[in-house]
Amino acid sequence: MQQRPNEITLQKHGEVTLLDIRGDITAFSESFLNDAYRNSNTQGARKLILKFEDSAYINSGGIAVLIQVLVQTKRNNQQVGIAGLSEHFKKVFHMVGITKFAAIHPSIDDALKAMS
């Protein structure tokens, strides 16, 4: 059963780069997320917002992929915010401990305000 490809849009908001990620986040998202991160990186982003769809299905494979990106952001001294998660996945991200390394914001606007 194929997963429909993710779509990722990059936007610059001042010194913050927004990665607007559409689709489910699973092991299949690995190359999409890594490519998107690499692109944001060559654009010299110091601050990143990862925006997910609130209807996205995120599983442990997707969490692993995300954490691999976060490992790189940490190494590159980048600040990361997360937006757009459903209440359920906010809880899951909290359980897993992702929130220790990336703050969850209620919306893109809130994330931009908090990070600018």
Binding site: Y57, S60, A64, I67, K74, V96, G97, K100, F101
Partner: protein, 142 residues
């Protein structure tokens, strides 16, 4: 096993089909009165059990199957996920996000961790006939 309260879902051994199990469990749980928030927990837990059955239990074999049973008795929703593997060699440790972020541990172990956190009960059973069962339960009252 397949009694008057029990639904069985038989899935191909491939990533992605866990979504079907999620849909089955969600519909069953909604019918017996679980709230949307708890249904999200159930969906994540059953998805992780199916993914493990595909990857660890059935080791990706194309001809293997993943069997999910769903039942509701005395206020408890019970879900079992069966694979054709030999079960656990050692009980997995909870992932340590700080060590993972420092590249000291690989980013694994979230599946069992989430099942434990999201369900009221979680049990691993190795069955006689070369089969493995992961059994989880959630009480309706909660």
């Amino acid at each position: 096993m397949l009694d008057e309260q029990t639904v069985q879902v038989n899935l191909p051994n491939q990533l992605g089909y866990e979504r079907v199990a999620m849909g089955s469990v969600a519909a069953y749980a909604k019918s017996v009165g679980f709230l949307p928030e708890r249904i999200e927990d159930l969906k994540t837990a059953v998805a992780e059990a199916c993914i493990n059955a595909v990857q660890h239990g059935n080791k990706g074999r194309k001809d293997a199957r993943v069997i999910v049973t769903i039942t509701f008795k005395e206020g408890v929703l019970g879900i079992s996920v069966f694979d054709e593997g030999s079960g656990f060699t050692s009980p997995p440790r909870d992932p340590d996000i700080v060590r993972i972020m420092d590249n000291l541990d690989p980013p694994v172990g979230f599946g069992v961790f989430l099942m434990k956190k999201l369900m009221d009960e979680l049990e691993f059973k190795t069955l006689p006939d070369r089969r493995n069962e992961v059994r989880m339960a959630m009480r309706l009252s909660k």
